[in-house]
Symmetry: C2
Subunit: 402 residues, 2 copies
C-alpha cells in the first residue's frame, strides 16, 4: 500500500463532468490499494472572475483581503470534488489550508510554506478517507489566510508529498508530460520519460510552462518523484521528474525558447575589482532583473560586459546606466533589441564538447546568427534574432531528436 499525492489544475476540475473524470483517476489509485491525497485548484476561470470583480472595487487591493477573496475558489472545488467522490461511493473529506494547517509566512499573495502539520491528514487517511486539499492556500501564524502565488497548487502538492513522505506526486495537467520543445513550434516534439530535477528547473525557467520552479525545487530538496500526466488521455504515463538519471549517457532532453530579450553591452569598464559588482548592485537597486551575463577579460585596462534583460526593462536599464555612466566608469552603453534565447537542456552537456559543436553547426546551417553564448552544467543557450528563434528551435530539435 502506497501513499500518492495527486494534483489537478483549474482546467482539470472546470466542470461537473471533468470532476467525474478526476474521480476516476482517484478511484484507479484506490483500486491499487493506495492511499490518496488530492490537491486541487480553483475551477476554470473562477480566480480570474474573482479578480475581475475585485478590480471593479479597487486598483490596489489589500493583499490580505485579496487572499481572503481568491482562496474561496479552491474551497469551492474541494467541497464539490468530495461530493463527486461520495456519489461513486468513495469516502472523502475536504480540507482547506488552515484546516490542515499549511503554515506559511505572512507575505500575502506570495507566501512561502513554513511547515505542514500531518496529523489531521494522516488521521483521515487512516480512517479510510481520500483527503482533498485546497491548493494554493495556507494560513500564517496569526491565523490570517495566505496564498502561495504563481504555481501555488503545484507547490502545495509537492510540499504535501514531501511532508507526508508520499511515494510519489502526480501532477495532472492538459499535456501528457514534459516535452522536448513547445508543441506550438515543433508539431511532434518528443515526450521525455525521465527528466532530472535540475533539467526541469532549467526547462521551467526557460519558458516550458509545465511546472513552476518552486515545486520542482521542493521536489529536489526532499527527493519527491514527480509525475507529470494528462488528465484527459487515458493511460497517460507522463514524464517522471526525479534525481535518478544516468550521468554517463548524454541525453538532450529539451529545446526551449525565451522571447522578448534585449542585450546590453557596457563598453570600456575599468578593469578593477569591484566594478562588476557595483554595476549589478546599481541594477538590483532599481529592481532590474538580469539574466545571462558575459564578461570579456583580457590584458587591457578596460573590459566589456554584456548581459540580457527583459525587453520591458530595457528603457529603465538604459536610463539608469546612462545616468550613472561616470560613477561606474563606463565609456559607452550599447544595446540590441528583439532577441530570443534558445537553449538545449541535458544532463552531462558540460562533459561533451561535441554537443556545443553540433548545436552551432545546426544554427550555422540555417544561417542563424548567435549574439551571445552561455553554457552551464546542463544547458547551452544562445541569443538569436527574435525572427529566427522558431527556426532555431526547429533546427535544434531536428539535430538532437531525429
Amino acid at each position: 500500500m502506497g501513499l500518492i499525492v495527486q494534483k489537478f489544475g483549474g482546467s482539470s476540475v472546470a466542470t461537473t463532468e471533468k470532476l467525474k473524470l478526476v474521480a476516476e483517476h482517484i478511484k484507479k489509485e484506490l483500486d491499487l490499494k493506495n492511499q490518496v491525497v488530492v490537491v486541487v485548484s480553483a475551477q476554470g476561470k473562477t480566480t480570474d472572475r474573482l479578480i475581475a470583480e475585485e478590480k471593479e472595487i479597487t486598483k490596489n487591493p489589500s493583499a490580505r483581503e485579496h487572499d481572503v477573496l481568491v482562496s474561496t475558489g479552491e474551497q469551492i472545488t474541494i467541497a464539490k470534488l468530495s461530493m463527486t467522490l461520495a456519489e461513486i461511493g468513495i469516502k472523502a473529506i475536504s480540507l482547506t489550508g488552515w484546516q490542515i494547517p499549511i503554515v506559511t509566512n505572512s507575505n500575502y499573495s506570495n507566501s512561502r510554506i513554513r511547515y505542514i502539520h500531518n496529523e489531521t491528514i494522516t488521521e483521515y487517511l487512516r480512517a479510510g478517507n481520500v483527503v482533498i486539499v485546497a491548493g494554493f492556500q495556507g494560513v500564517d501564524e496569526n491565523g490570517n489566510i495566505t496564498t502561495l502565488g504563481r504555481g501555488g497548487s503545484d507547490t502545495t502538492a509537492v510540499a504535501l508529498a514531501a511532508s507526508l513522505a508520499a511515494d510519489r506526486c502526480d501532477i495532472y495537467t492538459d499535456v501528457d508530460g514534459v516535452f522536448s520543445a513547445d508543441p506550438r513550434i515543433i508539431p511532434e516534439p518528443k515526450k521525455m520519460d525521465t527528466v532530472s530535477y535540475d533539467e526541469m528547473l532549467e526547462l521551467s525557467s526557460m519558458g516550458a510552462k509545465v511546472l513552476h520552479n518552486r515545486c520542482v525545487e521542493i521536489g529536489k530538496k526532499y527527493d519527491v518523484p514527480i509525475y507529470v500526466k494528462s488528465t484527459f488521455e487515458k493511460n497517460s504515463i507522463g514524464s517522471l521528474i526525479t534525481k535518478d538519471n544516468n550521468l554517463e549517457d548524454l541525453v538532450i532532453n529539451g529545446v526551449t525558447k525565451d522571447d522578448y530579450i534585449s542585450r546590453i553591452t557596457v563598453v570600456g569598464l575599468e578593469n578593477k575589482i569591484g566594478r562588476t559588482y557595483s554595476l549589478f548592485k546599481l541594477l538590483s537597486e532599481h529592481s532590474i532583473n538580469v539574466d545571462v551575463i558575459v564578461q570579456s577579460f583580457g590584458e587591457h585596462i578596460t573590459k566589456d560586459l554584456a548581459f540580457t534583460v527583459k525587453m520591458n526593462d530595457l528603457p529603465k536599464t538604459l536610463e539608469v546606466l546612462e545616468q550613472n555612466k561616470e560613477a561606474i566608469s563606463a565609456k559607452e552603453i550599447l544595446h540590441c533589441e528583439n532577441l530570443s534565447k534558445v537553449s538545449i537542456i541535458g544532463v552531462g552537456i558540460a562533459n561533451k564538447p561535441g554537443v556545443a559543436a553540433d548545436m552551432f553547426e545546426a544554427l550555422y546551417e540555417n544561417n542563424i546568427n548567435m549574439h551571445m553564448v552561455t553554457t552551464s552544467e546542463i544547458k547551452i543557450s544562445v541569443l538569436v534574432d527574435a525572427n529566427k528563434a522558431d527556426l532555431a528551435v526547429k533546427a535544434l530539435h531536428e539535430k538532437f531528436f531525429k
Copy 2:
C-alpha cells in the same frame, strides 16, 4: 463612544455599487465616534448559484461538504467590503467564522452557536479597525466549517452584539422596519417604532419575514436592542426591538397571515390520560410539525382533538393517523384543507377581553367564517378559508389601525 454591530443581508451587498452604500452606513457610525462590527451575508444570488451547482453533482450532498461550499459566499463579501472601505480611507479587516472563532456544535447546515471568542475582534477594534465578519458561518470544536441555517447572518449579528456587549445591533434590510401587516396586502401598513421581543417572536413565527426567531430569542436572552432599518432609505429610523414596552397600554402591533394550513380533527378519542400524548408522539416520530392544537373537553367518555399542519404534511399525516387509528383509539379522522391563520399581535391582549370581541366583530362584518380560535398572552389567531385571508387581514388592520 459606543460599539455598534451592523448587519447587511444579501440584497444589501449584491453589487459593487451597493457595497459603497453599505460603506456609507458604516462611515456614519464612525463619524459619530462609534466602533463598528459589520456582519454580512453572501452577495445576492451567490448562495443559490452554489446550491444549483451542487445539485448538478448530487441530490444528497454531505452536510459537512455543503457547509464548506456555501460558506465561501460570505467569505467573498467580507473581502470585498473590506476593500470597499479601504477605498474611502476606512481601515477595515475581514474575519471568517473560524478566524474569530464563532464556535458551534457539529450539526452541519443548522448549527447552534456555543460560544464566541471576543479577543480577536476587540484587539482589531482597539487598533482602530472596522471588523467585518462573515455571517451564517462558524467552526466546530474539531475545526470543521459549519453554517447556522436559516436566518444565520441575523443570528451571527445579534450573538456578536450580545457577546461583545454592544450598545445595539442594527439589522439593515430592504424594508424600513417592522410593519403592522404585509405591505403586499395592506398598501399602507403602519410602521412600528417599538416592538417587544415577545411580539417580534410572534410576528416572525407568524409569517412576518423580517427577522428570524433565533436572532430575536438571543436578543431577548441577552437584552440586545435590535434596530431593523432600511439600507436604501436615507435616514431610516426603522423599528426598535427591545424588552421595554409599557404593559399597561394595549398596543396591537401587527396583523399577520400564514397560508397553506390544513386542520385535522381526530374524533372520538378515548378520554383517558396519555391518549393525547401518544397521538402527538406518533406524529413527532414521523417528523410532522403540528402548530395550533385545540382539545374539546367534556363529560363524555370520548373527546375530539383538532390541530393544524402545513398543507404539504397533510397526506403523510392522514396516512399515519389512518394506519394507527386503532392504536390511538380514534373513531374518525376528519380534515379541512386550504385554510389560513390570521393573527393579531399585541402586548396585553390577554388582559383585554374586548380585543377578541373587536376581532370577531370585524370578521363577522366581512362575512368571514372562523374554523378555529386560539389565544396566547400576546396574540389571538383564527383559522379562516384561504380565499378570505387577505380580506381578514384588511378588515383587522382597518379595525385596529385606523
